[in-house]
Symmetry: C2
Subunit: 635 residues, 2 copies
């Protein structure tokens, strides 16, 4: 039989196709991926393409004669208008002559869409799972095939898929699904090789869950996999907080108590399952409709999630059990999504540089840029990644919890009533502040009274006190300042930020000498870390600073620069990314290339153990000193 | 550096190897598989080879100079005697010149041994799992590798294994195993791609379990995987018997009762786990030391084991859920062996031709023979496979349970007291019989009294009554025989086998007209099935008849032939194989090639639905007639 030249655009794949073959068959033969849920039954309408003549024109009548006429099903699914513009279903349209096929973006197997999440990044969709709708021939006496073999036959014939395995629970659901759906079923296929779910009839819902397991907060992002959109977001406190606020106290729990790890896991999974329920309700789906998941977290949270003993993370040489990505089964861990669903845990880099950091890196992609980028993720520890497409280095530095408001006299988390911004007039040293929960500054009679100071405001206070000459570059309070806010107590000096009547405490909220020392220790750790990484890459300046996490969302960039929190750079070159770890988890959820990218990059990033540098202490002490005041004035 | 010619015998692989490389490295490069548990640490001694000169001679001094001198570890493991004969460890011996390496059978990766089980077949060993002993470099500050990545590094370097995955429970056990074993661990590797178990230090125990899940009996064979030997065997009743003796009543249970399948599974797994415990105790190992398993059974048992709804097996078109082999995780099914162990369920052929039949076929291998072989597996149903290397056909025939002693007036299972053999003098029609539990015939004053008749004795009775002219070829009792044993009741005629005083029942044990009819129905089904299969293959005679299962072990071959149970053949060409299904399960356990063979053959065997043959009824009625008496006399 005659063969005809067929060209697929925009990919450009071309070849000779036997007359009578469908455009779908031609695409398969020429290696062009077309969307299709129904596998060629003219049911789903996803394989829509535009048929042009061999020169790429539509208007020529010739192109239209070179394919079979539209079927009734096509007319129903596409509409007469689209058909008159040359749109057809690839599975229904036979090649009768030379032609060009234009594949619209939505029909291409991986395509870019603009996500509607906060960060609004363009996302390539290439999920690990897809759904396939099958019409299976009914069994007849004398044709002794089993149910699964009937399904396998259709998968081979209509989807060119073979040697698939099937999850045992999915298989157990097969006979009923086939018979109740009149031999029509929808399969969920993982990584083109394993069937993980069976549903009766046509069932197109396909959702994935990106989980960010933080020390303090658990966040879940429910994504509609075919569009990549986040359709529901839920966050809640990590219930492990009752076993200790920071990572080290939880690790200690697992060491001191034989059942410690089980306790930590059990309350974590209870909470995660509540979260699953909440996002499912919000999107009006069942938990089982979540057919894929990713998870990120710092190394300790990652280990606890995966039931890996975190105790060796707590002492030198800080060895994780696992760095590589890990695929586990939702069923094995009691995560109440589709039982056969895969849960992909992103890789960790090193001891304290966790999967959350890897997620930030794949969200920010410094490895695809020429600019020298410094990614700072501050929590109880500071994690730093520095570099560009040529090389990336990372380090962990013991910033201590001061940036989170801990170990600060009036420190607190960024909850309602926390002072979050502070301004000090450099001449009068008069103070204005703003608290979480009220938009007005303290001089505008705000309704919410102050109850403490959160991390971002401590940075403000430090920079402003430096600027107003209340502390010097070495962090010491200047002596003999005559100002009602300046108190020189026996124990230590302090500076009043909020007068007692501006607070809910009935006493003044101050910043004391010890608070400034804590800030210096934190900043010294962070800056010396960044400096040592810069020396490692032999560079003098960074081009861009990315502040990841909620810490970055609240701090005043100029104040952070003025107190020398990180290497000097233009304030415009400092970016806050919000929950970039969650964003990285979402990217890995909707695009498996991102999972590979994460695995590659986690292996490639060179981890630097700062404490092994001979001049680590010298660098640290030097970095504790605040920048010169004249420099502050210049800005 | 210089390269030298190295030849491996008996495989014959050859190539040029760089000076200084070990014989182990040379073997790997040239694709020769050598045993090794320790991965080249001169610890396990398994890679023993004999070094000869390039012409294959040992005595020449030249050969000995062409390798590095023996190490102290080699001397310790091999002994001076072996070393003086040229034996060396491949991992310790460097190539310094051209040489020949003789690989003894025990060092070859797959090799034949004679098994010590009842059937005494030569078995090729190629288990799905192997153990690897690793010495892992300790972590140091500044080398930020995780535990698993350290292990992966050694696997890649010493065993040329990469991209391995690891079971999550095995991974969870890793940090403790490494530290308690001073960074020496033993891994269990499944199919060269997944680590399923981690043990501290050197742990060579490797056992597998072959399970035969019969309707009546569960049998377990514990095999030492490195030798293929069965080290413990246990059998017990299938506890599902309380839900019905035959397959159909159990299927009915799952249809009538929503929890039916769960009940059947739950009691089955309780019993299987008892069996696991029993074989483990017998071999003095822990259940977790069982690191691989296979399972066979008829289609209904296979389905129930795998949690697959068996209800559609019970009605036309008798569609199984699954025919293909299935690999499941021991953990997922609560089988109390190593939790990450794989359990391989052998494939089924068609509705009633199950994985037990496939196991019989891979044990008997008709597909490797020129002889036309008929394999008969009789239980409640009869399963037949006929053919040779050219083609195999199978059928299932409704023999009914008569051959198991059911639906027979005094029928019983082959338990103590059951009459298992019967002789009738053709002239006097005097009867002698033997019961299970006593070696003496009834005329020798046996101690055990008769309580009923089991399947094999019904066949004896039928053949002997035919021979003695008590019944005719159509199965009717001959009228007016004058003999005290011959009773002509109103209802039906019967023949006394055991007088009341020879029994425990206090009344005569007889064979009645109805019993003979039941035998005729069973034999008719079996023989017509065999005849139709022979017609399908266009053959007049079979060369060999294999009776599988315990049924075959007890019947008198000549009597079976005399009553025309299967096509006429020399009595010497009739073989009983005992539990060939269990044997097939064991073969698949110790040799993964057998698993592939089973999958291939299950697909290749052509299943014939006898009831669809137009002359099925005619054939069946014809086959109910017994062979001509003169023929009986001739034998």
């Amino acid at each position: 039989m005659a063969k005809h030249s067929v060209i697929f655009q925009p990919a450009g794949n071309r070849g000779n196709i036997q007359e009578g073959k469908t455009i779908m068959e031609a695409a398969r033969k020429l290696g062009v991926g077309l969307q299709s849920t129904c596998g060629g039954h003219q049911t789903c309408g996803k394989c829509k393409v535009k048929v042009l003549d061999q020169h790429g024109y539509y208007k020529s009548k010739k192109g239209q004669e070179k394919v079979s006429p539209p079927t009734e099903k096509e007319k129903g699914l596409l509409g007469e208008d689209a058909i008159s513009e040359g749109y057809r279903l690839a599975c229904a349209t036979q090649v009768l002559g030379a032609l060009t096929v234009e594949v619209p973006p939505e029909t291409q197997v991986s395509h870019e869409v603009i996500s509607k999440t906060a960060i609004q990044k363009a996302v390539t969709l290439k999920p690990a799972v897809r759904k396939l709708y099958l019409e299976v021939p009914k069994p007849q006496l004398g044709h002794s095939q089993g149910d699964w073999e009937r399904v396998s036959g259709v998968l081979k014939e209509h989807f060119a898929l073979k040697d698939l395995t099937i999850d045992h629970e999915a298989l157990a659901a097969l006979p009923k699904a086939l018979r109740s759906g009149n031999w029509k079923v929808t399969l969920t296929l993982f990584m083109e090789k394993r069937v993980i779910r069976i549903e009766s009839g046509l069932a197109e819902k396909a959702f994935g869950l990106a989980l960010d397991v933080g020390t303090t907060t658990l966040a879940g992002y429910l994504c509609d996999l075919p569009t990549g959109e986040v359709v529901a977001t839920e966050a809640r406190s990590n219930p492990q907080i009752s076993y200790g606020e920071d990572v080290i106290s939880r690790i200690t729990r697992t060491i001191r108590n034989q059942e410690g790890l089980n306790e930590l896991r059990s309350c974590l999974f209870d909470s995660l399952n509540e979260l699953v329920q909440a996002v499912s309700q919000e999107a009006n789906i069942a938990g089982e409709d979540i057919i894929d998941a990713t998870i990120v977290g710092n190394t300790a949270m990652h280990h606890i999630f995966l039931n890996l003993d975190p105790q060796h993370l707590g002492s030198s040489p800080f060895t994780p059990v696992l760095q590589s990505p890990m695929d586990i089964n939702a069923r094995d861990f009691g995560l109440s999504i589709c039982p056969g669903a895969n849960v992909h845990a992103l890789p960790v880099e090193a001891g304290f540089v966790g999967a959350d950091n890897v997620a930030v890196v794949i969200a920010e992609e410094p490895y695809n840029q020429d600019d020298m980028m410094l990614v700072i993720d501050v929590g109880t520890n500071g994690e730093l990644v520095l570099g560009n497409r040529k090389k990336l280095v990372s380090a962990s530095c013991a910033t201590g919890p001061a940036f989170e408001g801990a170990h600060i006299k009036f420190g607190m988390r960024a909850a309602r009533g926390a002072i979050e911004s502070i301004k000090i007039d450099p001449d009068s040293r008069e103070v204005r502040f703003k608290v979480v929960g009220d938009d007005r500054w303290s001089d505008q009679a705000p309704a919410v009274k102050a109850t403490g100071i959160c991390g971002s405001a401590i940075i403000d206070a430090t920079a402003e006190m430096l600027h107003a000459g209340i502390i010097n570059r070495r962090g010491a309070f200047i002596k003999n300042i005559s100002n009602p806010r300046m108190l020189y107590n026996k124990k230590e000096a302090e500076f009043v930020i909020a007068w007692a009547d501006e607070t809910d405490l009935g006493r003044d909220i101050t910043v004391c000498q010890n608070d400034i020392r804590s800030m210096q220790l934190g900043k010294g750790a962070l800056l010396s870390g960044a400096n040592l990484l810069m020396r490692q890459l032999d560079i003098e300046n960074v081009d861009k600073v990315i502040l990841a996490g909620s810490f970055g969302l609240h701090i005043d960039r100029q104040n952070a620069l003025d107190m020398g929190l990180f290497p000097d750079v233009d304030a415009e070159a400092v970016y806050s990314t919000g929950n970039a770890a969650g964003e990285g988890a979402r990217l890995a959820l909707v695009n498996t290339d991102k999972r590979r990218e994460a695995a590659d990059i986690a292996r490639r990033i060179e981890y630097m153990e700062l404490s092994l540098e001979s001049d680590f202490q010298t660098e640290f002490v030097r970095a504790m000193i605040f920048p010169a005041p004249q420099k502050v004035g210049e800005k």
